[in-house]
Point group: C3
Chain length 358, copies 3
């Protein structure tokens, strides 16, 4: 594989920090040389000098012998690790995340409209926004300050996009949808396509016009090739701070509560309302017209066919096994009801024997 | 969230109708003031004056107190609801769908080729068709009357697109594929990519050229980011009136029968033939080389590893439960065969005891 | 359906071969007239004169009565089939694949940059490469000899693309990613989007910049609308010869071993390493931070929540049944632990009775 072209700290980047500066700015306590300079984050096993890494679990301790990082972030309970310098912080992963953001700010874009972009005269693009090549913006659409409309992206009529958004590339946003501020939409995502609304009319499906919109709150992130359908009559709503991974499908009239995170390949059928601070595992499938309350965690590949009205962690996964074992065991599932009846009958016959034998 | 920009009936739209006009044109019987004018459909709980809503199930009756709709559509058995005016119709949802279509006609497009589109000189675009910005149309392709090729859409060589189609945006149609009339393809869909045909040849996969096509019948709808692979040797065929939701994958050489509806995230492996008027639930997974007859309904998240030769409803879903309960119960699935053997042994030992104790 | 426009052999294509030429060039033994000319491959049931077909399983023998192919490829054990001429070959499917490739070479493209493409002045596009309409190539990117960047494709800054690649259309490749030689990427695929890395910080998700890359080896094929996330700190790596079907999601920091084939709709969560020569069935879901060794086969729709350290075939699929049967049987799964306890209790009570009755 070709080497990485990115500079990994040989010259000192402008946003390098000493450990003392880190502790002052982001919290934590330095153990060892606070004048140590770091300018990038790195994984424990591959970090280079000039980088800072972190450990969050005991089992990573054994990797420290080979570690080349210039510093480590550890939790208070791990401050005895044989490594220096350290920053001791109550939540090493949060400090790591803050430093990662500091060392890797979002790409800067020039303002303006690329000559190969197409912007309808009735659209309003803020002066500090950027519309990249081969993007097209329809009549009446609005793009807020510092937002970036990436190459090949299609913004239909009357869409409203807030400030500091980034639609990376080849995104499609259907008419009348609304994006808040600081929304990120990754490549190939489709927002506001018609929901799947059909009525069987004289032997053929009649499609029902979908006249609701999609509303994305502030700080929402939408993964690559994720799709969010517009509402049938009312709107589909994704509240502030929701994070959606790739290849998720959200049906019409869903509502996803603030700060809920959904992993890749999840499907959510229409009109389901999910609460705040939920976490949905990858490839989970959630049925339509359900209600899921706040703080529910759903395991990967779990199907949810009914509402969940109590916070907690839920799973439903067929266990994997060697194919031959699966064949043998799975066959019994079709006869579980009969097996349960046989056990019940055994119980009653045995009770009868016990009764008569005394 | 910002208010909806769409006019909700304060001035009278050109396609407004009185209830008497509705009954005359679409069927049904008016109860109450037939001169009442409506100009949009609305959901029972959010309808505004000037809108017409509907109830299809008893449980919606309790919402009527707060309902602000100017009229309701009800089934004959519900004509006693305390609400006026009504339209009584044998199938309220169908009348609702017809009115929704009447009040919300498809967007009109100008005819012609956008200056930022690219059309090969050997392609044929009908005079009334529209090719939008940054679309590209390859050699020999044909686009029928009134069809709209949306922004960023790629039509490869020798593709045939019928009349009154709409490819919304960023769609890709590979060479030689054929779309019938009134076909709708949503954002990001890919039609005619190479099927997954491989032969292991001397330690590496050799790809097998996929020389079939995709044929889409009339009135087919293809959801956002759905993919339909071209045939390996023969064609992949989607018959008239099939409705496909978002993020569906259809493998090479599948045939989907007329008027079958498939919900989001379904995967169908190669060479499977599905009948007419089937309904496939979201995230179902259908194996390859199967045959599914007409009028089969498959539940959401159900895996179909073998043919279904009898109409009916089929399911196969691992039940969800609290994670701790799942851990406890799922472990037994790996030992179901042993458990069934133990029950059988108990039965024989108990029978032996019963025999000897008499 | 309209007839296929493609010529099916009425005039003799330039790459037509006699059976003798085939045997000389690709191996195998001719039985019958070695001067027979074929110029295309065909499926057994639909092959036309001038085409060559193949049989690999006994059950296809009964189709031979209707077969119109000019020749058949058969395995040594099938050389007694009542059909002439034949080519007898140790691996009929491999010979078929080689002939399919011979008769259907990849489409040829002109070299150069389409006037409607956008190429940054600091990008390097090889003289024999082709950049099609509405594609855009960012600063510092490199495109190797004979590679084709299809319409609407977005190549971000500093991407490296090897020789003889084809990115079909509307593909997005994020900054700094690296593609080897002979890589094929189908429509709508997204390579290098940010992985799903989040830290909960003061009540909101903080996104963690994803500073790794995606590295695709030589001869990798990526299906339509498949997504491969860039690494968080280190790289996501897809080794040589890996074949990915449509709508696959690969999370950050995964490594997929050489010559592994993955069918459609599979999701692989972050940091999982899969070995060489694995085969993953459609809609399988593989959890994060796992290790799967070489030569593992995973059945369709199977969830993999833990590492697989031994080669072999694995499954975990809830069996499908009539909906009413499923309702009856699935209910017992929630009580399997109780059922197992009841069986254990029966065993101990029965043993006690047997002990006392003797």
């Amino acid at each position: 594989m070709p080497p990485r072209r990115r500079d990994t700290g040989m010259s000192l980047p402008v946003n390098a920090l000493t450990l003392d500066e880190i502790a002052n700015r982001f919290g934590g306590t330095v153990v060892g040389d606070g004048a140590t300079v770091v300018s990038q984050v790195g994984a424990l096993e591959n970090a280079q000098p000039g980088q800072i890494s972190f450990i969050v679990q005991q089992r990573y301790r054994r990797m420290l012998d080979q570690c080349r990082a210039s510093a480590l972030i550890v939790a208070p309970g791990d401050s005895d690790v044989p490594y220096r310098p350290l920053i001791v912080h109550d939540n090493p992963y949060v400090l790591f995340a803050r430093l990662a953001a500091h060392f890797n700010p979002p790409e800067a874009f020039a303002a303006g409209i690329h000559p190969a972009a197409t912007v309808d005269p009735s659209a309003t693009v803020a002066a500090s926004a950027y519309v990249d090549a081969h993007a097209s913006i329809g009549p009446g659409a609005r793009v807020g300050e510092r937002s970036v409309i990436g190459p090949g992206t299609r913004i239909e009529r009357d869409v409203q996009i807030g400030e500091d958004c980034r639609l990376v590339a080849n995104v499609t946003v259907y008419h009348d949808c609304v994006l808040g501020d600081r929304v990120i939409v990754h490549g190939g995502a489709v927002i506001g396509a018609d929901g799947f609304g059909l009525a069987m009319d004289a032997g053929a499906w009649r499609r029902i016009p979908q006249i609701g919109r999609v509303l994305l709150g502030n700080d929402v992130e939408v993964g690559a090739n994720t799709t969010i359908d517009r509402g049938a009559l009312d709107d589909t709503v994704i509240e502030d701070g929701v994070k959606l991974d790739n290849q998720i499908q959200i049906g019409h009239n869903c509502r996803i509560g603030a700060h809920t995170a959904i992993a890749g390949c999840v499907g959510i059928a229409g009109s389901t309302h999910i609460g705040r601070y939920c976490r949905i595992g990858g490839s989970a499938m959630i049925g339509g017209h359900l209600r899921i309350v706040d703080n529910v965690e759903i395991g990967g590949a779990t199907a949810v066919p009914k509402s969940i009205l109590k916070a907690g962690t839920y799973s439903g996964l067929f266990p994997i096994s060697r194919h031959q074992d699966w064949l043998k065991n799975a066959a019994h599932i079709r006869h579980l009801d009969a097996l349960a009846n046989r056990v019940r009958e055994l119980e009653s016959r045995l009770a009868e024997m016990e009764r008569t034998s005394t």
